[in-house]
């Protein structure tokens, strides 16, 4: 294991930034989100939860896909994809890292989404273990160990040092790049931190959510539950939960007319929006209850049914903290998940 003093972290960022791009939690106008690093930026890797998850590094909220040019009757398609510069995504928590696996199963499944894939391939992910999880966290319920996330490099942070462990070839390459700044040591400190954090995690109120009920064979029973109506009644139909969620991946494709032709872009979309399924001659989900149900059924039943039981929720708790009316997946699990959750 390697380590670097906390007060030298800026040197580490600068060193990485010499050859690669660096995306890291940065505070801007009071809120911490992943941004491109630069000298003088207010880095805040201690922040447990960035408002937006790091998913927009691979799946940006808006991205231009192609351009169309018309000359007379002739149409021309201009491919806007470009080679992605290598970059490091730094400070990813265990839940958000697991969420990338959830996204991979959608975007890298055949046919591969080249927009996502090119960014994913160009990225080295440095994860950061949690030491101060909060009451809205429930990654343990999804079998995630917040004290030892995976990733190309895993790091741990305490009052004095950032501890560093490369896990993959990409991780080794990055380690070599910053080797001069790292020194040996940290095994004892990391082991102690892991142990202490595990104790906190066990005590978190949602750590033992029981998900047994959420299986493909219960799909229709869960779908038909009369409880959806009550659970969704306060839902505003906004997209906050979907946009702060690290695993929500629904998108829209739209055209935008510019002076130099038509740009086709894709952007995040939300199953909570009333026009999400609207067609010229009908809409399959006309009520907010149906849309609310879709979101949670997708995460807890539909997605696992298509992906060997992997849930499309990682227990990051962003929806717990951010829903304007305090509706969230935990309340759904407790309401529908059977006696074990009482």
């Amino acid at each position: 294991m390697l380590k670097i003093a906390k007060n030298k972290l800026n040197d580490l960022y600068a060193k990485i930034n010499e050859t690669m791009g660096l995306f890291i939690p940065i505070k801007k106008a009071g809120e911490v989100n992943y941004h491109v690093w630069g000298e003088g930026k207010e880095v805040s890797i201690e922040t447990l939860k960035t408002v937006k998850s790091p998913k927009n590094m691979f799946f940006p909220q808006t991205e231009n896909m192609m351009k169309f040019k018309t000359e007379g009757k002739n149409l021309e398609i201009i491919d806007l994809r470009d080679e992605k510069r290598p970059f490091v995504l730094f400070g990813v928590r265990a839940c958000d890292y697991k969420a990338i696996e959830v996204l991979d199963k959608v975007f890298l499944a055949d046919p591969v989404d080249s927009f996502y894939q090119s960014r994913r391939a160009a990225t080295t992910i440095v994860t950061l273990a949690c030491s101060r999880p909060e009451e809205g966290c429930f990654c343990k319920a999804f079998g995630i160990d917040a004290t030892a996330p995976q990733g190309d490099v895993t790091t741990w942070l305490d009052e004095e040092y950032l501890y560093w462990q490369a896990n993959t070839e990409k991780g080794e390459t990055l380690t070599k790049l910053v080797q001069e700044l790292l020194e040996e040591g940290g095994e004892t400190e990391v082991a102690a931190q892991k142990e202490a954090t595990a104790v906190i995690i066990d005590k978190l109120p949602f750590s033992n959510l029981n998900l047994d009920k959420f299986k493909p064979e219960n799909l229709n029973e869960l779908f038909d539950s009369p409880k959806w109506e009550e659970m969704s009644e306060a839902c505003l139909g906004c997209g906050t939960c979907t946009f702060v969620c690290p695993t929500c991946q629904c998108f829209d494709i739209r055209d935008f007319k510019t002076n130099e032709g038509v740009v086709r872009y894709r952007c995040w979309d939300s199953c909570m929006y009333s026009d999400f399924t609207l067609m010229a001659h009908g809409n399959s989900r006309t009520t907010q209850m149906q849309r609310f149900r879709q979101r949670f059924m997708h995460k807890l039943v539909y997605y696992p049914s298509q992906n060997d039981g992997l849930y499309s929720c990682v227990g990051c708790g962003r929806c717990v903290n951010k829903c304007p009316q305090h509706l969230n997946i935990v309340k759904v699990v407790k309401e529908l998940g059977g006696k074990e959750n009482d």
Binding site: M65, M66, F68, T70, K73, N74, L75, E76, I77, D79, R81, V106, F107, A109, P111, V112, D113, S114, F115, Q117, S118, P216, L219, N220, F223, D224, Q249, C250, F251, D252, I253, R254, D255, K257, G261, V262, R264, R266, D269, C271, F276, T277, L278, M279, A280, H281, N283, S284, R285, Q290, Q294, M297, H298, V301, Y302, Y303, S305, Q306
Partner: protein, 275 residues
């Protein structure tokens, strides 16, 4: 750069045929004059007018046609309105093929086939009917029941009356909802007509049309003794990507674009009622 399914090909409209007051059939080839891509009956393609939008349409021509593809499109929204205003020579974009096709090479082979369509619902069936006609020796008897609001709303009536009715071992029954001058054929709704015809329940049936027609026709077929596992239909929901990623066209854990649009009735029975 690897191939990207979301980036379409350019298609040239080489022929436009008006089928009904609100349905036109568009013939499309690539800029090189050749067919854009191969498909199987029942599969769909994303057609777009840049700047207006992209929509999923079923490919109505048969895969056995090596020269071009055809789309029969009903004018019912902002994209189809612009498509209807196109002229021959116009360039559009096309990507696909998407979705699962009818099991023409598996379950349908050697079987007697019953096709039931209502209105624009004939579009996806035309592809499979002409495929079956092309490989006629591989299939048994074919019965087609097709209905529309009026005689003017019957899609592809020329092909039906000039070719299909003359095909050996193929019966075509047409019906319109209300009596109309110049129509001496059957009058009445499709579900009722199907029951009247007293069809052989051992046939494999394919239904396509408005949801209400499907619902009542299916009930009629079950009454006649048809087995749900041998009844197929196609679904249509809002789609954006066509490859099961954009997240909107699911019914339960199935995506219509990827796992459909062709579904066996027994498969649909297992899914929640949200389509």
């Amino acid at each position: 750069m690897i191939e990207e399914t979301l980036i379409p090909k350019i298609g040239v409209v080489t022929d436009i045929r008006r089928d009904t007051p609100d349905v036109k059939t568009f013939r499309v080839v690539g800029t090189d004059g050749k067919k854009l891509f191969q498909h199987m009956p029942g599969q769909c393609a994303m057609v777009s007018i840049p700047g207006v939008g992209e929509c999923m349409f079923s490919i109505t021509s048969s895969p056995t046609n090596e020269e071009y593809m055809e789309f029969s499109i009903k004018k019912c929204g902002c994209v189809t309105e612009v498509i209807h205003a196109l002229e021959v020579g116009a360039q559009i974009t096309v990507r696909g093929p998407y979705g699962k096709n009818f099991p023409v090479e598996e379950d349908f082979k050697g079987k007697d086939l019953l096709f039931i369509a209502g209105g624009i619902g004939l579009a996806p069936l035309r592809s499979v009917i002409n495929y079956v006609r092309h490989y006629r020796q591989n299939y048994g008897k074919v019965v087609i029941v097709y209905g529309a609001r009026s005689k003017d709303d019957l899609v592809d009536i020329d092909e039906i009356q000039n070719e299909w009715v003359n095909e050996p071992n193929m019966e075509v029954y047409l019906t319109i909802d209300r009596p109309q001058e110049g129509w001496d054929g059957h009058v009445g709704f499709v579900p009722a007509y199907v029951k009247e015809l007293g069809l052989d329940p051992n046939m494999t049936a394919v239904l396509c049309g408005p949801p209400i027609m499907i619902k009542f026709t299916l009930a009629g077929l079950l009454e006649l003794g048809f087995d749900k596992s041998r009844v197929y239909t196609t679904l249509e929901l809002r789609m954006k990507c066509g490859v099961g990623k954009c997240g909107r066209c699911n019914v339960g854990d199935k995506f219509v674009c990827k796992d459909g649009p062709v579904f066996r009735m027994t498969e649909l029975d297992e899914l929640p009622d949200e389509y």
